[in-house]
């Protein structure tokens, strides 16, 4: 428990990080530092995206596997580390923005 909190604290302490959302495989939010509605939105939309990305990767090469997803937008950078059971989503504003 404390390790999770510690990790989240460390992540959010970085100067560009806006928030952290941890989601399970089904897109259900486990822990987040964003406000509830936005976090829920991130949870459902990003897990959907990860599922699609994962499927695409496997379709391209059955031996392959999605390991990291980095979405650069005009305003943010969304980094998603997908593992078997859970997703960690970190939203940060890039240096230049």
């Amino acid at each position: 428990m404390s390790e999770l909190e510690e990790t989240i604290r460390r992540l959010t302490a970085k100067k560009n990080v806006q928030g952290v959302v941890i989601v399970n495989q089904l897109g259900l939010m486990i822990r987040s530092t964003l406000d509830a509605a936005l976090a829920k939105q991130y949870a459902s939309l990003m897990s959907e995206l990860v599922r699609m990305a994962r499927d695409s990767v496997v379709q391209l090469d059955a031996q392959n596997e999605l390991t990291f997803l980095r979405i650069r937008t005009k305003k943010h950078e969304i980094m998603i580390c997908p593992e078997r059971e859970y997703l960690m989503i970190v939203v940060q504003t890039p240096e230049s923005a």
């Binding site: 999770l4 970085k14 650069r72 980094m79 960690m88």
Partner: protein, 639 residues
């Protein structure tokens, strides 16, 4: 109808009367002009003509308002049926006579000229047919098509395309609609199916081991990704910000500092080392934290330049770790020497406890291991460790239960003790047999692992490198690279506030007994505190760096200045700096501080040597040798 018949009858009678009257007149006329009377058709006198005209008019009046002659009645007028009917009956017997006679409406009998006719009147039943007016079909006979439209009227290519496009768009739209609908349905279903996790469920997830591993791993990955200093989305078309980066090269820049509140607090860094395989990894060892009795005494952390606020790996030891390094040939293995005398081996694939360790027995070390080195090649290499009781052990990394060889260094001729307390160890580059050790008493000795012709295994008492007045803290041979070989040079540093440059002696026997003591080539005496470590740059022949107790990090360039360092930097909070190590590319220096931090400095362009640097260094060293030759006797006397 009867009325009408009667009326007609009346008219007829009247007509007959009129005719009779005319006949009489004609007869009268006939009587007057006999020869002329060939036919009744031609009126002769004007007077009679006018009279006849009158009659004609009258007849016309009686017959109807139309003055037109009966021969023109083919046109279907809009007359009422009945009227028409009448006119038709009348016309049934068209008069064979000329126009003059036509109006007289005589019955259809040919009257021979001059015959007197007594009309016979018969009553006739007239049947009136009511013939409906012929339906008039009107059409206009004209061209109905536009000019030029006689070619086949198929749709043009453009139109076909347009049509296809439209169809496509329509299909696409339908498909999208379909998808959208499905998605919405699914969403609805999902929303219905998946309520939010309850706090209970969340708690179970959060407490599971699996989740802990996930958090550990994914956050590490994300932090590494975040630390990328280069912004790959940079737009160079935008205006340049004024970057005040100093490019003249003579500058060091702090790249990052490694510190972890949990592990590094109240500990000092005892050693730092870079990975040969992964240039971004640094390993550092720590002594014990006196305030945390439940934590392991010694720890070793592996740091990543791209992940500066947490270690990649943390390894535990039961005793303070005094020296550590990556295995040169196995990037996963990390070796540590401890205060208890154990040599430990950790594996990054395993957990935090060592996978192998030596026994604390007579076979190995029983005193603190402050120095170790790896010699050999990929296929045949050994770990050489040395402890403060003068024991040198060589180990096979996959078998730490027993040392391959043990060698005891003792100096029989020493005044106080024959044991040599080794604090620093150095092998010349490429050498596997002979090595140099720095001792607590301040002298440097050469030793051999094996007995060779003319020399025994163990310490070589022929030469003693004397010059330091305190324990030696670091010893480093010039690395072998570049066009010239300077591998006979080595540097030492000591708590006597100096760094000294030495040249190793290879002659088996000294020319004279006086020469048994070797003095340093040069002494760098700008330090203001204990000098804790010194290292040659791996890429520039004339550069070396030293760290000292006042927190200063000095970079020396022998080709520039031998009196003072080219760059002096106060590192961190100015706490004593224990150890220093260059990265393989010579640009970065990792510095271990006594406050638990590891600092990584970039020396920039300085690390790249120029061609003349070797020859310049050659000259510098030769100069030092010649000055030493003059001064050594004095020095020898003084000592």
């Amino acid at each position: 109808m009867n009325n009408r018949q009667q009326e007609l009858e009346k008219k007829r009678l009247r007509l007959a009367e009129l005719r009779r009257a005319r006949k009489e007149r004609q007869e009268a006329l006939m009587g007057a002009q006999q020869p002329e009377a060939s036919s009744s058709s031609t009126p002769t006198s004007i007077g009679s003509t006018s009279a006849r005209k009158e009659i004609d008019d009258f007849v016309a009046q009686v017959l109807g308002e139309r003055p037109a002659t009966p021969t023109t009645t083919v046109d279907g007028s809009s007359d009422a049926g009945s009227e028409r009917g009448v006119s038709t009956t009348i016309l049934m017997s068209p008069p064979p006579y000329s126009a003059a006679n036509a109006s007289s409406q005589l019955p259809a009998t040919v009257l021979p000229a001059g015959t007197r006719i007594i009309p016979e009147f018969t009553s006739i039943d007239t049947v009136v047919f009511d013939i409906p007016p012929k339906e008039r079909v009107v059409y206009n006979k004209e061209v109905q098509t536009v000019e030029g439209s006689f070619e086949p009227q198929g749709p043009s290519e453009e139109e076909i395309r347009e049509q296809i496009r439209e169809e496509f768009a329509k299909q696409e739209q339908e498909r999208l609609d379909e998808l959208e609908r499905e998605r919405l349905e699914k969403e609805v279903v999902e929303q219905q199916e998946m309520p939010e996790l309850t706090d209970e469920e969340r708690k179970t997830i959060v407490q599971s081991v699996e989740f802990g591993d996930f958090v550990e791993h994914s956050s590490k990955v994300i932090e590494r990704a975040m630390s990328e200093r280069y912004d790959f989305m940079k737009d160079y078309t935008l205006g340049l910000e004024d970057t005040t980066e100093d490019t003249n090269g003579n500058r060091v820049r702090l790249v990052c500092s490694f510190y972890d509140e949990k592990w590094c607090k109240n500990r000092s860094v005892t050693d730092v080392s870079w990975s040969k395989k992964h240039p971004e990894l640094v390993v550092s060892s720590y002594n014990k934290n006196p305030l945390a009795v439940n934590e392991p005494d010694g720890i070793v952390c592996v740091w990543n330049i791209h992940l500066d606020d947490r270690p990649e790996f943390v390894f535990h030891s039961q005793s303070d770790v005094l020296t550590t390094r990556f295995s040169d040939f196995h990037p996963n293995l990390i070796i540590g020497g401890t205060y208890s005398g154990q040599v430990l081996l950790w594996d990054t694939r395993a957990k935090s406890l060592p996978v192998l360790k030596t026994h604390l027995s007579v076979g190995g070390h029983t005193h603190p291991v402050y120095a170790m080195d790896m010699v050999g090649t990929q296929n045949a290499h050994n770990l050489i460790s040395v402890s403060t009781d003068g024991t040198v052990c060589s180990w096979q990394l996959d078998m730490l239960a027993q040392p391959l060889e043990t060698l005891s260094l003792d100096y029989q001729g020493h005044q106080i003790t024959d044991e040599i307390a080794v604090t620093a160890l150095g092998f010349p580059d490429g050498e596997t047999n002979s090595f140099w050790v720095g001792t607590e008493e301040g002298a440097v000795y050469q030793a051999s692992r094996y007995a060779r012709a003319g020399s025994q295994a163990g310490i070589n008492t022929t030469y003693a490198y004397r010059g330091h007045y305190g324990p030696i803290t670091g010893l480093h041979f010039h690395p072998l690279f570049g066009p010239m070989d300077f591998s006979d040079l080595y540097l030492t540093c000591s708590v006597d506030w100096t760094v000294k440059l030495w040249r190793k002696r290879t002659n088996p026997k000294p020319a004279t007994p006086d020469n048994a003591v070797v003095y340093p080539l040069y002494s760098f005496e700008s330090a203001e505190d204990y000098v804790y470590d010194v290292k040659w740059s791996p890429t520039h022949p004339a550069i070396f760096a030293s760290v000292e107790g006042s927190g200063k990090f000095d970079v020396w360039n022998l080709n520039v200045d031998t009196e003072v360092p080219v760059i002096t930097t106060i590192v961190g909070a100015g706490k004593a700096l224990n150890k220093l190590n260059w990265s393989k590319d010579g640009r970065h220096a990792a510095i271990g501080s006594s406050d638990g931090h590891v600092y990584v400095y970039d020396i920039g362009e300085m690390a790249t040597p120029k061609n003349e640097d070797w020859t310049t260094l050659q000259r510098t060293v030769n100069e030092m040798i010649s000055t030493q030759a003059h001064g050594s006797i004095l020095g020898g006397v003084e000592y």
